[in-house]
């Protein structure tokens, strides 16, 4: 096999009807450690090969272009989530956990639970979290800036969300160390059963048990988001079983994502001193910087869909019941959509990025994520005139998430400002 793109007129499983355009075939393994550690050149090759490509290694379709990724995310009737948004096809394989009521569901089942979750994470509710989140960010960042050097991932990105989000949920103190490993299971679980998957699952039964316990009504503190979800079980809009499953959704989707996002944002801003200078100058840019970092170094890199019928995507005919891998992180750097896509620009108009997905499954927690990013970057912007990396960030390979296990930085303290 060559490592370059080849073109074939009829790859893949029995495609009904003629294939209208030649489909590029690539033999990359997008879940290999080498691909995950340095995805962008490979994304580019895939994106330039065609709107939709065939990945022979897994026998799946893929798209790395903005237009097709958005089309597939939006057209939930043709591109279903209920067969799983990972490589596994739930119609043929038993999922490793009970499928999510949100992520791994289609309308109409998806619609009603999504409405409940949208109400749980309403703008008013998220606004109510700001004061507490900001206070924690100020104190944490204040201490780190005093130190002069710290690890943006280990000392900040991994610490902050784990301090604020479980409290907002009302989780018990004990056992919170299971949260990151559970996220690791969930997000590695969308890939193939490779080494990353098996490593993540090593301690699965024990962790899953703690997670299941934590989703129970009696284990969630009053006033938290977890109890808000359970309150909907009293109105009859969801069942108690669904309430527990929705709490689980917040546990799997709400922690690692923000850890990776904050780590990526800090690493990117440290590597772009000119951009940081603008944020420092005008801390109101912090939330735009966080958004741009999500476009630039997307924490959630990929999700799958499964076709419900034969469908044309970018001129390529895809048969029914087939898996397609959508490269969100590559769509966010598609030059057909973005000017200078590989450049971090904190004042860029980022609308249209798919870092939080789009369509009916678009991230329901995006306002929580933005709040976390905003308060951390704002606290740092007020205190640090300069950020610079002291060593290259260490990639942390994951079948779905992109981020770092370590990103050491040095901060230059700002002269005290009258704030």
């Amino acid at each position: 096999m060559t490592s370059g793109a080849t073109t074939s007129s009829g790859p893949g499983p029995s495609v009904p009807g003629p294939v209208p355009v030649p489909v590029p075939v690539l033999d990359d393994d997008p879940f290999s450690v080498s691909f995950l550690a340095d995805p962008y050149p490979r994304h580019e090759r895939m994106r330039e090969a065609g709107p939709v490509v065939w990945l022979s290694h897994y026998g799946i379709w893929a798209s790395a272009r903005h237009e097709q990724v958005v089309t597939a995310l939006t057209d939930w009737r043709a591109f279903s989530s209920a067969s799983g948004v990972g490589l596994a096809d739930f119609r043929k394989e038993k999922p490793w956990r009970v499928p999510s009521l949100l992520l791994e569901a289609d309308p109409p089942d998806h619609t009603r639970v999504r409405e409940v979750m949208t109400e749980v994470l309403s703008s008013r509710r998220v606004r109510g979290l700001r004061e507490e989140f900001a206070a924690v960010a100020e104190s944490l960042v204040g201490d780190l800036v005093e130190r002069g050097t710290f690890d943006a991932v280990r000392d900040l990105a991994e610490v902050f969300p784990l301090r604020v989000f479980p409290d907002a949920l009302g989780l018990p103190e004990e056992g919170r160390e299971n949260l990151m490993p559970y996220g690791g299971m969930a997000f590695n679980g969308f890939g193939p059963r490779n080494d990353l998957f098996h490593e993540a699952m090593a301690d699965a039964p024990r962790i899953q048990e703690w997670i299941n316990e934590s989703c129970r009504r009696e284990n969630l503190a009053a006033g938290g988001l977890g109890q808000d979800i359970w309150a909907f079980a009293d109105t009859g809009r969801i069942t108690p079983e669904q309430a527990a499953m929705l709490v689980r959704s917040l546990l799997s989707a709400g922690i690692d994502t923000t850890v990776y996002a904050i780590g990526n944002a800090l690493a990117a801003l440290a590597a772009h001193p000119g951009q940081w200078a603008r944020v420092h100058e005008n801390p109101a840019l912090a939330k735009l910087a966080f958004e741009e970092a999500i476009r630039f170094e997307s924490p959630v890199q990929t999700f799958f869909r499964t076709t419900t019928r034969a469908v044309d995507l970018g001129g390529v005919r895809i048969g029914p019941g087939e898996k397609i891998l959508l490269f969100l992180g590559a769509a966010n750097r598609d030059p057909r959509k973005w000017i200078n896509p590989h450049t971090l620009d904190v004042t860029r108009r980022t609308a249209g990025h798919v870092g939080f997905g789009t369509g009916i499954h678009a991230c329901v927690g995006q306002q929580v994520a933005r709040l976390e990013g905003d308060v951390v970057l704002t606290a740092l912007a007020r205190r640090a005139a300069m950020l610079s990396p002291t060593a290259a960030p260490e990639p942390r390979p994951n079948n779905t998430l992109r981020g770092f296990s370590s990103a050491p930085i040095r901060v230059e303290k700002a002269a005290v400002r009258g704030r």
């Binding site: 009737r77 008013r124 109105t235 980022t350």
Partner: protein
């Protein structure tokens, strides 16, 4: 208590006239459907924020099936097109309701006026009134006879039903029809807006008319969108938002960086504090209380009820 909401399964889909299909829905888990009275309607939640209301036109005594008639609306936003082109027997679909804003009140005699698909809520009313022995007549108009649904159902009522397709009979003779009304007759009308307006005219001041209108659901841009002024308090700018423009577009055009994502009022990214003025909320996120408070708005879709908004930008 929240109103009923459940997953139904499409049992049958039948073409009943040019442009109209009848759907038969059952409860997906086989349990009895929520009960209803003539005049009731349900929401079909079609996804993508599309919710469409349809009157129930079957038999309220039959708890195993709901029947509805769906007209293909050429100018529709896709709800009826989806029902016509894609929805198939065996498909599952989310249903809300039933609810009733068109209750059948007791009276010794009734006159019914239907325009086109507006006949649907009247069918169960007529069945009930007829079974109860009250006097009644139906005046049923439509574009052409082949476009008029449920004529077969109405057939058995003989000459109590006047079928008046417009291509043969012209506009409905409401005045003539209403001459039959006595002091205690109730008139029930359902159909397109011009018909209902004419019916209101014809009934004059007498409190005998009951109508149902399906208010067209929200549209993001509509003809009534006027111009207004937006003051950006932090930047010290005053901008004019034109009729075809959103506040977001206008603010961005002025070079003020603001976050946005969905640009249809569903994600909350563009939420902005309102310092003065009354927003015309068009998002799908804020609660009724928050709308009334008016201290925050989604600038990608929401507009201004007055002439000026001051935003914290």
């Amino acid at each position: 208590m929240h109103e009923p909401e459940f997953v139904a399964v499409v049992r049958e889909k039948i073409v009943v006239s040019d442009g109209v299909v009848a759907l038969v829905l059952g409860h997906a888990d086989g349990t009895p459907l929520p009960s209803w009275r003539p005049g009731a309607h349900i929401d079909l939640v079609l996804g993508d924020g599309l919710v469409r209301q349809y009157s129930l036109c079957g038999d309220p005594a039959d708890a195993s099936a709901y029947r509805l008639g769906v007209l293909r609306e050429p100018a529709g936003r896709g709800g009826s097109a989806y029902v016509h082109d894609t929805l198939s027997p065996g498909d599952r679909i989310l249903v809300r309701g039933p609810r009733n804003h068109f209750e059948l009140e007791d009276a010794p005699s009734y006159l019914f006026v239907a325009g086109g698909i507006g006949v649907t809520p009247l069918l169960p009313m007529i069945a009930e009134v007829d079974a109860g022995g009250a006097r009644w007549r139906l005046l049923y108009g439509g574009r052409t006879r082949p476009s008029m649904a449920f004529l077969d159902v109405l057939d058995r009522y003989g000459d109590r039903v006047l079928v008046r397709p417009q291509d043969r009979h012209g506009l409905l003779d409401l005045k003539g029809f209403l001459e039959e009304a006595t002091r205690d007759t109730l008139v029930y009308g359902c159909g397109p807006e011009p018909l209902l307006a004419a019916l209101e005219d014809a009934c004059g001041a007498r409190d005998m008319l009951r109508v149902e209108r399906f208010a067209p659901k929200e549209s993001i841009h509509d003809d009534r969108d006027g111009m207004f002024e937006v003051v950006l308090a932090q930047s010290g700018l005053t901008l004019t938002v034109g009729p075809g423009q959103t506040v977001l577009e206008c603010v961005e055009a002025a070079g003020i960086p603001v976050l946005s994502s969905c640009q249809e009022g569903t994600c909350g990214t563009c939420e902005t504090d309102v310092l003065e003025g009354t927003p015309d909320h068009r998002d799908s996120l804020l609660t009724e209380d928050e709308r009334a408070e008016g201290t925050t708005m989604m600038i990608c879709v929401s507009r201004c009820l007055g002439e000026r908004l001051v935003l914290d930008l």
